[in-house]
Every structure is written in structure tokens, then in C-alpha cells.
């Protein structure tokens, strides 16, 4: 993932979502809410209010950056691998399903690994939508809006997805989120 891509993706797109969100919530009851709360409120049970798109995209991108690290990728270890093998039969089955979801999200969107009813699941969402609105716990995401990969991969979204899984994904971050989610659910 090139520096040029990051400069635009983080420096222009992500920044624009944050600025837009701030402008839209200014002087409203949402102004002092946490971002997750803003997302859930503005989702409005499927009839989203104007601030939803920018709020959700701001959250999604922050989450996405943390899903990657230099020299990341490869097969995970530890608890997350155990859970993957339990809920997907094998890491390779999970990988296949995750890549498939990411490749087939038509138009703009995201693919997710989530914790849902205490089990791992893969979901894909269009545009700005994220699984928080359904009460699922996101553990991993990949941005499949074209702006995320076009400068580096053009139309070759499957290549981008493979590279993300092989070279970039931070399983440490995923594990940390899993631990946090389990602690939250046990309290």
C-alpha cells in the first residue's frame, strides 16, 4: 500500500469524513457524543440521518488503519486462530470466505470479521454501513471502496485483498479486540 495511497486515503478521504461529521453535529445534541453513539443514533433503524455516512466512515477508517501493520499478514496464532478453526473449520476456509466477501461487495463497501452471538462471522456492508448498527463486534475490516486500492491495484481488487491478508493484517490488533469484547461481555 503506497505512500501516495495513504496520503490520499487518510489525508483527504478520511480527513474529509471527519470534517464533514464535525460540521454536521456542531450545535446539535450529538456534539458531545462518542462516535459509536453518533453512528447508532444517526443510523436511525435503517433510515439514516445526514451525519451517518460521515460518522460511520470516520469510524470505519480509524478502525481500518489499526487493522494493518508493517510486516503484518500471514496466519494468526493463539486464541484468534483457535476460534477461527472452531467457527470456520480451518484458517483457509475463513480466508476463502473473507476474500470472497471482500471481492463480491458490489460497488463501495467493507468486509468484516465480527463477533456475533459469541461466534465469529464474516459480513460485508455497502458504502458506510458497519456491523455496530446491528450490535455485532467488529474485529477486522478491509476497505473495498475503490479509493482504497485504485492507485496501487486499479481494478485488481482480488490482488489487493490477497496482499492485505498476506502482508498487512495485524492479528495482534484483532486479538486485542477479541479479548476486549470477551471482557465486555463477561461484565
Amino acid at each position: 500500500m503506497s505512500q501516495q495511497t495513504f496520503e490520499f486515503h487518510w489525508g483527504k478521504h478520511h480527513r474529509a469524513y471527519v470534517d464533514t461529521c464535525n460540521n454536521l453535529i456542531k450545535d446539535t445534541e450529538l456534539e458531545n457524543c462518542m462516535l459509536e453513539e453518533i453512528i447508532k443514533k444517526t443510523y436511525n433503524n435503517g433510515d439514516p440521518q445526514p451525519a451517518f455516512n460521515s460518522a460511520a466512515q470516520a469510524w470505519n477508517h480509524e478502525f481500518f488503519w489499526e487493522c494493518m501493520k508493517p510486516q503484518g499478514g500471514k496466519k494468526p496464532k493463539g486464541e484468534i486462530l483457535e476460534l477461527i478453526e472452531k467457527d470456520f473449520d480451518s484458517y483457509y476456509e475463513f480466508l476463502k470466505e473473507f476474500k470472497q466477501a471482500a471481492a463480491t461487495q458490489f460497488g463501495s463497501g467493507w468486509a468484516w470479521l465480527v463477533l456475533k452471538d459469541d461466534k465469529l462471522a464474516i459480513e460485508k456492508t455497502p458504502n458506510a454501513l458497519n456491523p455496530l448498527v446491528w450490535g455485532h463486534v467488529p474485529l477486522l475490516t478491509i476497505d473495498v471502496w475503490e479509493h482504497a486500492y485504485y492507485l496501487d491495484y486499479q481494478n485488481r481488487r482480488p490482488d489487493y485483498i490477497s496482499v492485505f491478508m498476506n502482508e498487512l493484517v495485524s492479528w495482534d490488533a484483532v486479538t486485542a479486540r477479541l479479548v476486549k469484547a470477551k471482557e465486555a461481555s463477561s461484565t
Binding site: 490520499f8 483527504k12 478521504h13 455516512n53 458490489f106 486499479q154 481494478n155
Partner: protein, 294 residues
């Protein structure tokens, strides 16, 4: 150069026979002495200009990828889906026969009859086209993929064919001709239309298209998501702009607004729009009747 170029499958053929099986063949278009027929398997249609002809506003590289990869990809998917099925090689007329169902017409046909009575032939043809595809894919379950996915590929093929023709080298000149008259009638002024069109294009969240259409005998600006086009609403497109990120990202990155302005100032073909308006007017009266009813 256009190394990716695949010639469209246009061929000359004998006049159409009446039996379905003898007229099945691969490849695209046949001519009879009366009209041009369209079959269900298509080749990739060239834009009406070379891939570097829109420089510096849309780069050669951008068009190579947009037309040569994305547009081609939609078409290949579609053809794969009908390959080896009974739909392969059907002409549109043959598909009509299939759904006429030997004198026991499917629901689609009663609506078609109403459309014929309305004498709105353009709408009829477009509607038949879309309805047949929907109906036939529903009947042929061996496709295995859902109808919605297949329709997306089809719509994207159509949308891109239409989009290339909306542009020309040296385009974007002053809007002239009858289209200007209707724009001024329905939007009050060209500038107001321009503002509305640009606004719609800029605010289409995610992937999609923005359109100038004829709707209820008036011009209107519409935007649509992903592959949706106004044909499904029974509106008649005159102009479109692709606002999927792939259409501008190599040249403009996040600056969609700049891309939209350049499209309107330097690329849009008002000649193409006027031609389409002319065809629509042949079937739809865009003016008030000159003779009062009473």
C-alpha cells in the same frame, strides 16, 4: 495503442428464420432488410473515439483500465452466465417468442400490450428488454448466481456503452440545439441545470451515476447508486456521468468535483444528447398539445 481492443461482434447474416433453433448462433448482431436485431451475447463495443482522445481531461491509462478492464469485465461476466444455456445466441425477437410462450403469454406480455396501445414504443422496447432479461433469468435457474448479480453486470455494460457516447474529444462546448430549449424550459436556465447536475454528481454517496433524463415529458436530473439506471423507473436517459471512483481516481483521486467540472466543460457531447432527444421525441410528446382538447 488499443492493445486490449476487442472488435465488436457485428456480422451480416441472412434474414431471420421463424424457427428458434435454426436462428441460434453465437455472436452479436444480424441485419435483416427491415431492422437491426440484437442477440443476447455481446461483444465489447468500442468507445466512439480512441482511448487517448480525451486527454488531458481523461487519461489514456484511465480509459484503458475503465473500458478495457471494468467494462470488459462486466461483459465477460454476463456472457459467462448465459454460456451453455438456452439463452446463448438468442436474438431479442427470439427471446420475445420464448416468453410469448406459444400463445399463453406470461404476465410480462399483458403489460407489453398496454404499452403498445400507449404507442410509447421507446418505453416499450426498453421495458421489454429489461423485463425479458429478468424473467428469463428467473426461469433458467441453472445460472446458479442470483438474478440481481446478473442484472448488475447487464446494467453496467449498458451504462458504460451509454457513457462513452456522452463524451467526445473537444467536447463540453456551449450547449446548443433543442436540448438547450428544453433545459431552459425545465430548469429555468442552463446554469441552474448545471448546478443541479453537478450537485447530484458530487453528492451521490459511494458508487453510482448521475443522469439527465426525460421523465413525465420533462427533463430531470437523477442520481442512482451502483449499477441502477433510470430505465428501471421508465425514464429515458439523455446524458450520464459515471461517478464510481474507478472512473476518475487515476486522474483526479479524491477530487470528484474537479472531474465533474471538467466533464461538463471539456468532454460532454451535446450532439449526442440532441440525437437522443430527437429519438425520444419521436415517441414522446415533450410539449403541450398545440390544439386544445375542447
Amino acid at each position: 495503442m488499443m492493445t486490449l481492443l476487442q472488435k465488436p461482434c457485428f456480422i451480416q447474416h441472412m434474414p431471420l428464420h421463424t424457427s428458434i433453433s435454426s436462428t441460434k448462433m453465437k455472436g452479436a448482431v444480424r441485419k435483416t432488410w427491415t431492422n437491426l436485431l440484437t442477440v443476447a451475447q455481446f461483444g465489447l463495443k468500442d468507445p466512439p473515439y480512441k482511448l487517448d482522445a480525451l486527454e488531458p481531461y481523461i487519461s489514456h491509462r484511465s480509459l484503458e483500465v475503465h473500458w478495457g478492464k471494468h467494462h470488459r469485465g462486466y461483459l465477460d461476466n454476463l456472457n459467462k452466465q448465459i454460456e451453455g444455456t438456452t439463452l446463448q445466441g438468442y436474438t431479442l425477437e427470439e427471446l420475445i417468442k420464448v416468453t410469448y410462450n406459444n400463445g399463453n403469454p406470461m404476465p410480462a406480455f399483458s403489460n407489453a400490450a398496454q404499452l403498445i396501445l400507449s404507442r410509447d414504443l421507446v418505453t416499450l422496447l426498453i421495458w421489454i428488454h429489461n423485463s425479458l432479461l429478468k424473467m428469463i433469468w428467473k426461469r433458467h435457474k441453472r445460472f446458479g448466481t442470483d438474478m440481481e448479480t446478473q442484472l448488475k453486470d447487464w446494467k453496467q455494460v449498458w451504462n458504460h456503452d451509454f457513457f462513452w457516447e456522452c463524451m467526445e474529444p473537444g467536447g463540453g462546448k456551449e450547449c446548443t440545439g433543442e436540448i438547450l430549449e428544453f433545459i431552459e424550459r425545465d430548469f429555468k436556465s442552463y446554469d441552474m441545470f448545471l448546478e443541479e447536475f453537478k450537485q447530484a454528481a458530487a453528492t451521490q454517496f459511494g458508487s453510482g451515476w448521475v443522469w439527465l433524463v426525460v421523465k413525465d415529458r420533462k427533463l430531470a436530473v437523477e442520481k442512482s447508486t451502483n449499477a441502477v439506471n433510470p430505465l428501471v423507473w421508465g425514464h429515458m436517459p439523455l446524458l450520464t456521468l459515471d461517478v464510481w471512483e474507478h472512473s476518475y481516481y487515476l486522474d483526479y483521486q479524491n477530487r470528484r468535483a474537479d472531474y465533474i467540472s471538467v466533464f461538463m466543460d471539456k468532454l460532454v457531447s451535446w450532439e449526442a444528447v440532441n440525437c437522443r432527444l430527437g429519438r425520444v421525441k419521436a415517441f414522446v410528446n415533450l410539449r403541450e398539445p398545440a390544439v386544445p382538447y375542447t
